[in-house]
């Protein structure tokens, strides 16, 4: 059962992991540490450190390691854990493989349309935030409810922060009018 959820989790990470391996780290952390409790925060931090020190893409390295440790922590032996790391790595690579083949087939037809471009306008800054969240989570495992409440009320006003963007749009439209 843990293999199925390992596969689904890393498939999701591969599908939603924008910004390369580094951009994936907060996704991997959220899923493996907080959502599924497969690893502890310090274990995950060690995995990130080792993934950076060894050759190869960070995303593949950390997925392989997380898969292994997750199964190992569940009480299985080495051989079964190897199967876990294979499952996680395969699941992470699969969405890339499918998506890139599809894009090659359609020969980048849709990549330069305004729809795709405007979606990426929103994604690019968000991915920077995703990356910034990863070290915050290592540094402070969320324990203080107080702090999160204060921040929570601050973040709830976030929708209003779209206003500067609207201002920018209006400012842009004035000279053309």
């Amino acid at each position: 059962m843990i293999f199925v959820s390992l596969f689904i989790t890393f498939f999701e990470i591969g599908l939603f992991g924008f910004g390369g391996g580094y951009g994936m780290l907060s996704l991997i952390q959220h899923e493996t540490v907080e959502a599924h409790h497969w690893l502890s925060t310090s274990e995950f931090t060690d995995i990130v450190a080792i993934s950076q020190m060894t050759p190869g893409p960070i995303g593949i390295n950390s997925a392989t390691y997380c898969g292994y440790t997750a199964i190992h922590n569940a009480g299985y032996g080495h051989l079964v854990s190897i199967l876990g790391s294979a499952t996680a790595t395969f699941a992470l690579v699969l969405p890339s493989l499918i998506l890139m083949i599809l894009i090659s087939k359609m020969f980048m037809k849709y990549m330069n349309t305004s729809l795709v471009q405007s979606i990426f306008t929103g994604l690019r800054p968000a991915v920077v935030g995703l990356l910034a969240a990863a070290p915050c989570c290592f540094a402070t495992p969320r324990t203080s409810l107080h702090l999160s409440r204060i921040l929570g009320s601050l973040v709830s006003v976030a929708p209003f922060l779209w206003l500067p963007l609207l201002v920018q749009v209006i400012l842009k439209s004035i000279p053309s009018a």
């Binding site: 599908l15 924008f18 910004g19 390369g20 580094y22 951009g23 994936m24 996704l27 899923e31 310090s42 931090t45 990130v48 450190a49 020190m53 060894t54 050759p55 190869g56 893409p57 960070i58 995303g59 593949i60 390295n61 392989t64 292994y68 190992h72 080495h78 854990s81 190897i82 790391s85 294979a86 690579v93 969405p95 493989l97 890139m100 083949i101 090659s104 405007s118 979606i119 990426f120 929103g122 994604l123 800054p125 968000a126 991915v127 920077v128 995703l130 969240a133 990863a134 070290p135 540094a139 402070t140 999160s148 921040l151 973040v155 976030a158 922060l161 749009v169 842009k172 053309s176 009018a177």
Partner: protein, 182 residues
């Protein structure tokens, strides 16, 4: 030589010799695939990098899949992807098996207690680099801050952040279009 074996071997080499993640692979891939093997041209390589960056997934895998598909369709894509992923997989597997036995060793444990704070700095650098490439300005700087806070302080799943950001970008694009037309 068999092209499947050749492409697998080339990307296996690239996978072994890159330290520091996908972006460090670009010069190696250019040297092997553009200059030596001439599987793709220099211009194609630039487009390829742009597409691989904007697609989800591991950057290096995206590039490898794309080049493999160009060579020999789906089978080629599987060869190059396997070639890129396999060295990482084997090396990490060896370390994972080794490390789980030595984790409780006092020296190793102390070493990793020292490394942990450094990991924060190691990720801070690519964060700023990515911020530069995303061309953040005073109008957009709040987006990464709000996203990071939502994940860190509220425990929102990054998957929702990605979805909201995509929808937000789409809406922004629509508003931008209509306000320019009017």
């Amino acid at each position: 030589m068999n092209i499947y074996w050749d492409s697998f071997k080339t990307f296996f080499h690239i996978g072994i010799f890159t330290l520091g993640g996908g972006y460090a692979m670009i010069p190696l891939i250019e040297e092997e695939v553009v200059n030596k093997k001439k599987w793709v041209t220099k211009d194609e390589m630039l487009d390829l990098i742009a597409i691989a960056q904007s697609c989800p997934g591991v950057f290096a895998i995206n590039i490898a899949t794309f080049i493999g598909y160009k060579l020999r369709k789906t089978r080629g894509a599987i060869c190059t992807t396997l070639g890129t992923a396999l060295p990482s997989f084997l090396i990490i597997l060896a370390i994972a098996m080794f490390f789980s036995q030595f984790k409780d060793n006092k020296v190793v444990a102390a070493m990793f207690r020292g490394i942990r704070p450094a990991v924060v700095a190691l990720i801070a650098v690519p964060t700023f680099n990515l911020g530069k490439r995303a061309k953040l300005n005073w109008y957009t700087i709040w987006i990464p801050i709000a996203c990071a806070l939502a994940i860190w302080a509220l425990g929102v799943s990054p998957i929702y952040i990605i979805m909201i950001a995509a929808v937000g970008g789409y809406i922004y694009g629509r508003i931008n279009k209509t306000s320019c037309n009017s």
